[in-house]
Symmetry: D4
Subunit: 149 residues, 8 copies
């Protein structure tokens, strides 16, 4: 994430992934304040065995796109709400990537969905994850059914 | 895709994936005009061996989110430009998914990036794809270097 | 409605319809979390004797459009305010339906008007409803006159 | 409609309704240039036997809401694209009605859907219309199936 | 004004005009809930001796434009903030009037400026008003000078 | 006006005012490129006998607000469409004036309405203008009636 | 700054510049309420030895652009958040300057960055400033590293 | 610039700077397609004797902010219009930088003003530039005066 103030919005991703028994490495890296650290992290990510990267940022949210430009691992971008523009700036900065370098963007403050999308991507290699994701969805389903009386 | 008028925007995805020797099944399915076909397609996708789904749609673009709700395969959403709102409606409809059901959204008209993102996701199981993606990126890189004289 | 958190925004519809002595069936159905329930509900609605459907949802608000695609009863869509985009996302998702499948959209958080519109539609078959609607409007009128001194 | 320049956007409504053998009265009435004519029209509409009113307008689009305030027939509003704001002004003017006076709003330039919605509303009294609407939807469905090969 | 909830936003207009010893008639009239009262008011305004009309409204803000269509007195429109769209809907509804019927629009919640604009318009017939307006501006000027130390 | 490229959008104001036999002084003055000329013009306007000022500008449209800050004549602002933001920037720049200094804003590209508003303001001192404005409106009315067949 | 209510947003600029031992002259000058003071200030700025001007304003934020039109010193504009439009109006008013007169615009409420940009500009003449700016950045860097554990 | 397609929008900067006899180094560098080249360029810029950097980019426009994060030279960002969002995405991506790393943003497609701002910044060290800028402004002024007849 680009700043520790983004943590509350990304924690749901960490929790859901840990709930699926996946290993999560959490980093605070700023595209603007620690650009060279960010470059090293992104270039070394695949070698270290990372499979998917979730990057959250707000405002001029450059972190997800820059990480994506430096690795060919799938990068999931989470636009974090900003004070005045409410995350529209973050969303446009993250999703409107030029041809060639995609970022898989989720909703504004969509940390939980970033975690679930990461799990869905990982489930293409780890079939046992598919069962956990199905169970997770069944619970969602049942919560709605329950509220429907 | 939701309509054959979306084809020009999604063709770059098909081409780039075929260029990587990946098998692509192209369907025209409308969330609104053929909802039950769409439901069957999404529910059967995983069983048929599909690994990633790319869904493009414009306006009230419900196709990517509805497909995502009916499968746990990763779903990539491509907002297609609309006549008056220029795809802002499509973008918001696709990206602002509720907690639980993610759609990996790319830029408005970002068909090419949808294809590349699909390839990046598939490369987590097919390591030989990584080489092709790296080569693709090297070409992008060289094109820019060339223009930089 | 798509979630029980939408209830406060839709309750005015229920109240005004019950005040007109109309029968209301209230359901919590999520286009994304219970898609097949939603499909069954929409397909069976007309057979069960429903005449008009009011569907409220926020964010990527697919519920009204999906229900509309599965029934030819008139469907009224209520965009519910979302946290960051304040319901602009919900409004665009609901109103920008493609040619062929209309949703009768009311204002953001416009639950009361959804109820009134349903009553106006039903009054085409139930003339006694017209009197109640006229009385309702007269009260609105008188409240304004009263405030005008 | 508020101006004859809106005609191309509303003609699809007229055609689809005439295709269903429904009687259509087409009027050019401006909320701003012929306000008293508009008032008389709206007040007399129900007495003349009209069942549903479709009103299209662009920019400061007051026609649908003003007509709705003067009749308790269901009023369908069609936001027409404007030159600079592309119909966002028209959409907000039409859909954001205050509590008490609903307008059933369709998409920007959504004339066809306005006609279909009117037919769906009328089908609550005219059951034979239901068959025509079903056929119309089957054709839409088949067109998509056909394009899907 | 369209509703008594708009009063806090229009009171500054009343106060500044009364401070200039101008006569103010304050009315609560709703374009949508009391349309015929609004029509009568607007048509009779000039005959009753009114010189300028200030009309404030929020959301689908039709009051200023409708009054303007029914009188040729200058009409000043005040867009009042709305809950979700923060007055953008009100602004577009009021300012985007079609050719032929102008509304002199001020800022969102700009009640005070509506009062001052009315005074400036009236000062074209009442030269003694010019002195009061100049004094008012001098005070504004001095307040800034004072804060500038 | 701020630039001669704005002329086509302001010419309708000139024409309608000349059609009413009013004297019009047309100036090209830029708040940004000729700021001191603009200051002199605004400060001397009242003394020269001007009664109302129409100022059109696009983009960072400062001309109307700056003129308004330097005179207490009524100032009418016309937001001119800009290339990318289509006049939303011009509209916000002109209409969102701070408390104390109003600008009477009309629609984007609303030159004609600016002229009509000026005439309505002047008609408070020139009663014969009222007749001309009424005739103008009657023609508008008749055009609509004619199109309504 | 245009109003003393802007002070909290501009104070970080003052503090960071004073922290760099630079001399800061703080003025409250309103483009609209004290236009002639603003003109004098801008015209005399260079002669008094000022090197860079930071101007913050909200709403119809004309101060930065007007100052820029009256001096050829670099002018940095800070859009201040407004109540309803949250500073989008301020941003567009400040950044969309016409060809010929630039304003160096920073983020909404970006007072701190305005100060830093001023320091970066001044460091082209004062090399010792470069060291201070580097130290400032190193601290930012270290804060992030520290949070990254 | 981020792509050679941005050249037409940045050429006015090059021309105006060369017209002032300043040395310009023009580079095509993509934050996303040649990220490491961009990093090297930005880190080496000051050592090579560059004084100001102008960076233009469209869409997810990360180039100006990333360059700014890697140098403490003043960086001027030019948002280039994008196909669907017309440069609003570019503007938000460039201007909404986090505290600590400013980008001096000019108007969408504001290449000319970027060049002029660079010249104004450089004139703090090169007094002879001030005369050229004054002459440039005088010409602008005279063009307007000429059109004003």
């Amino acid at each position: 994430m680009g700043s520790d103030s983004d943590l509350p919005f990304l924690e749901p991703a960490i929790k859901v992934l840990e709930g699926f028994n996946l290993q999560v490495e959490t980093r605070v890296l700023s595209a603007h304040r620690t650009p060279l650290k960010m470059v090293s992290f992104a270039r070394e990510a695949e070698g270290k065995g990372l499979k998917v990267i979730i990057a959250g940022a707000g405002g001029s949210a450059h972190l997800p796109g820059m990480v994506a430009s430096l690795t060919s691992l799938p990068v999931i971008g989470v636009p974090i709400q900003s004070k005045c523009l409410k995350g529209i700036d973050s969303l446009y900065s993250i999703v409107q990537m030029p041809a060639g370098i995609p970022v898989a963007t989720v909703a504004i403050n969509g940390g939980l969905n970033a975690g679930l999308l990461a799990a869905q991507i990982l489930s293409t290699i780890q079939p046992e994850l598919k069962i956990k994701i199905s169970q997770y969805r069944k619970e969602l389903h049942n919560q709605v059914i329950h509220k429907d009386k």
